[in-house]
Symmetry: C2
Subunit: 189 residues, 2 copies
């Protein structure tokens, strides 16, 4: 019923975590899953879910917000404005892939257009374009490249890479993503 009041008791806090983790798992497999299914996966009663989250929406909001906070943190940690562009790009990519592998539902949801996260997502996209512009200024991206398109392609590549089941190492996946982003599949002359 309530989302925030006064500090929760230890077991209640544990329930909240269990619910969030179960929600991530269940919703990743089926975004239309019922709260009943989520509760079952979390090992709690459905009423407990309602006690900890006012709405289904509130639950999803918490999930997405948590992940977006982590996303911001992870991006900031790569120093995208000061580090060498390719280094930052690689580090961001690997971190985002790690995040996406652990929180597939929340990450997908947060990137959905037309959602309440649109503005925040747009801010992130702007930072991405800024980083790409730096890579452009160092000659790693063509001077005439369409950076908005490149950013979209970058996102799509990350999305595809995250679906890859054969290669679980985020760093190798990041290398593959960036290689593809910069050079495509054509032969290197």
């Amino acid at each position: 019923m309530v989302t925030q009041g006064r500090p929760l008791r230890a077991d209640a806090e544990r329930s909240v975590r269990a619910i969030l983790e179960a929600a991530e798992r269940v919703l990743a497999a089926n975004p239309a899953a019922s709260l009943e299914q989520i509760a079952e996966a979390a090992g709690v009663a459905r009423t407990t879910v309602h006690r900890r989250f006012a709405n289904r929406q509130a639950l999803v909001d918490t999930l997405v917000t948590t992940v977006m906070d982590q996303l911001d943190a992870v991006i900031a940690a790569a120093n995208p404005d000061t580090a060498p562009p390719l280094v930052a790009l690689h580090q961001v990519t690997a971190s985002v892939l790690r995040l996406k592998l652990g929180w597939p539902f929340a990450m997908t949801e947060s990137f959905a257009p037309e959602s309440k996260w649109a503005e925040r997502q747009h801010r992130t996209a702007t930072r991405c374009v800024t980083l790409l512009a730096r890579a452009q200024s160092t000659g790693h991206i063509a001077p005439d490249a369409d950076l908005d398109w490149t950013c979209k392609v970058y996102y799509a590549l990350i999305g595809e890479a995250a679906h890859n089941t054969t290669e679980p190492d985020p760093d190798l996946l990041a290398t593959k993503v960036i290689n593809t982003l910069l050079h495509g599949a054509g032969p290197r002359p």
Copy 2:
């Protein structure tokens, strides 16, 4: 109630078409839309929808099957096994983009993994890889390229390009997709 019996009367056939087109529009905007909303968009009563399609699933099936048939036809028309690889690739890309712009829901649905369309979609993907292999043999794709990955990237690029609202010309979009697929965003040496 019934899906196929004996030839439909002219007005009934018109209803079926109206329902399918409305379903495409409505479901593209909201995949969880109710049959009521679809009926309203089609300008018919909800019961008429049930008369023409046994299930919601049957309606979606018809939508997806229709589009997949068109997809097969469009691919075949590009002669992917005989035409010069890059020519076929461009033609297929432009046609698929056209299809995707007109049937965004059905196309997305048909590409969903783990669905009942998986086998058919897999067959299409195999043809895609075959075409890419031909492009590889002509030197347009690097000899050591991972063609499965390249195919996924190709799909993702088409998906992104279809979201592009500023450039509605499928041929120009196809050129952009293929350029990106082959050369990425890096500078041409």
